[in-house]
Amino acid sequence: MRIFKNLGQALRGLRLNRGNTILMTLGVMIGIASLTVIVAIGDGIKIKVLSRIANMGFGPESFSVIAGAGRMFFSRSKNTTSMTLEDAEDLLALPTVRLVVPRQRTRTQIINKKEFTGTRVYGVTPDWQLARGWKMADGDFLSDNDLDRRKRVIVLGATPARKLFKGKDAVGKMVRVQNNFYQVIGLLEEKGMTESGYDPDDRALIPLTTSMSRLTHQTYLHSIKVVALDSSQVPETMEAVREILRRNHNLSVLADDDFRFVTPEGIMQWVTESEQALNRMLILISTVSLLVGGIVIMNILLVSIRERVREIGIRRCFGARRSDITFQFLFESVLVSLLGGLMGVGLGLTISFGLKRFDVLPTHITVEPFILSFVFCSLIGLIFGIHPARKAAFLSPEESIRS
């Protein structure tokens, strides 16, 4: 077959014009490598966000009300003092509500003699354990008695427990949080670090009343977790919660809410939206980088053809048709972009693996970049090769032999 002979001549051409071949390969390689890395990062971030949501401990029937207006994942405004324990009691009175957990959250240090660790200390009610469904590894959870008597007791997550007690028995020991000593009464069961690096075990729990009087010195709540009887009742429960809170906080009809909801649906919607934005950005960047690769190929091929005018003339003298020359140069450009694509995927995977290995960015490697780069590279080779190839084919044999 004539076309296979052209392919053979193309391979020879690539071998003989090594410098140009390497430059063209590099152009595509960089484009495909960035595409591979971008896809890996995109997938990695998606997985990280999804796993973080899973670790927030949301069942489908629960949602949180956070003090202060604003966006879902941004930190609460420090001075929103309107949410109180009375609000929590009113919410519990709603017919569709099963559990209500009022919370305060402080980031501080816990100290055991010479050992210390920074962690999140939550002031909660005993219902917290029911709402989260979190089992104990040792000891007991906070009791109503602890809450009523503002006892200085603490339940440790697995991470602070390990850091403070180095595997020794912790229950019954005393730890210091700011100016007060607390007795460790229980240890939470370990959930383990997620793939994305979020550590759900990095927390400690004390009675809400103790938190109010000894840790935060605040009487207002930072958030309330609400668990409805059934997931189908979540929307109407949220509406009822909004009504109660607006009334309790004396908000006029025109005023905005001074609290916000975090719901599983809300998070999913946020994730979907950010994923779409991310994907749009990825497509844009990939297109630009592939375009650059294609233009590099076209330019180098055009220069290469100027250098190889005589070769083209010789081939024409000895019977090469225009189509033979066209196919030879098209094959050269497609082969070069496929080679560049292959090397680019290799480089991209190496970079993606490195980013993950050294904790720079979460990446996830899939089969997509292989397929994508194969398709894109063939297309790039064809699209950006056709102009130089036609140009070479339509050189006059008489003039090119004389040059």
Binding site: R2, L16, R315, F318, I401
Partner: protein
């Protein structure tokens, strides 16, 4: 029958509005087996005449019949085939593919042949042996001397067994010893029945041919037979 029949061929090039007439009304008939020299000073139109004869360029006006086919009416496909099958080119500057071995250079025309023979390599080796290069099969042009390169181009021009050899200043880049070698090779080819058209500006080289056509200012100035004595003297 004439193998090459050129009737009132004109060729002009247009350059930024200027029209340069390179060939003016050239009429020329060459029979199969003829050994023809075309001589003339540089710029006389020798190379253009050769380009038209070799189907590398089309005449602006006139009729060119090669082996019974009117070249002006052929498309690129058929023209390429004519070049491939009927004509063997030998160039002053050799025009070998750089970086490619002598053997592969010789087989280049077969890449584009319609029905290439099976024993390509053997034929190429045979031809290279015929020009005395059996020890240089795998050398690239850069590793060969000028005389050796010219012999490779001659082997290449013969691989498709063409009827016409078009040689453009074949001795121009060679020393006298290699020049004489090349001319001897051509003399042998004539004995094998090839038609040779030799373009040169060297009167002595031209004397090898049986017929000398002199070109001046794009027109045939003289067309003369060379006597056997003259031919023999130059040998």
């Amino acid at each position: 029958m004439n193998l090459i029949e050129m009737n009132s061929i004109c060729k002009s090039y247009r350059n930024i509005g200027f029209e340069t007439q390179v060939l003016k009304d050239v009429t020329l008939h060459i029979k199969e087996g003829d050994y023809v020299s075309i001589i003339g000073p540089s710029g006389a139109g020798k190379s253009t005449l050769m380009a038209i004869m070799g189907c590398l360029a089309q005449p602006t006006k006139g009729e060119y019949i090669l082996d019974g086919e009117e070249v002006g009416k052929l498309n690129d496909r058929k023209l390429s085939r004519v070049r491939n099958e009927k004509i063997g080119f030998v160039f002053q500057a050799f025009h070998l593919l750089p970086g490619v071995t002598a053997l592969e250079n010789v087989t280049l025309p077969l890449v584009y042949a319609k029905n290439p023979p099976r024993n390509i390599k053997e034929r190429a080796k045979e031809l290279l042996a015929k020009v005395g290069l059996e020890h240089r099969l795998h050398h690239t042009p850069g590793q060969l001397s000028g005389g050796e390169q010219q012999r490779v181009t001659i082997a290449r021009s013969l691989i498709n067994d063409p009827r016409i050899i078009l040689a453009d200043e074949p001795t121009g880049n060679l020393d006298s010893k290699n020049g004489i070698e090349t001319m001897k090779t051509f003399d042998n080819l004539i004995k094998e029945g090839k038609t040779i058209i030799l373009i040169t500006h060297d009167q002595e080289v031209a004397q090898h041919a049986g017929r000398i056509i002199s070109i001046r200012d794009g027109q045939i100035a003289s067309d003369s037979k060379v006597s056997h004595e003259e031919q023999n003297r130059s040998l």
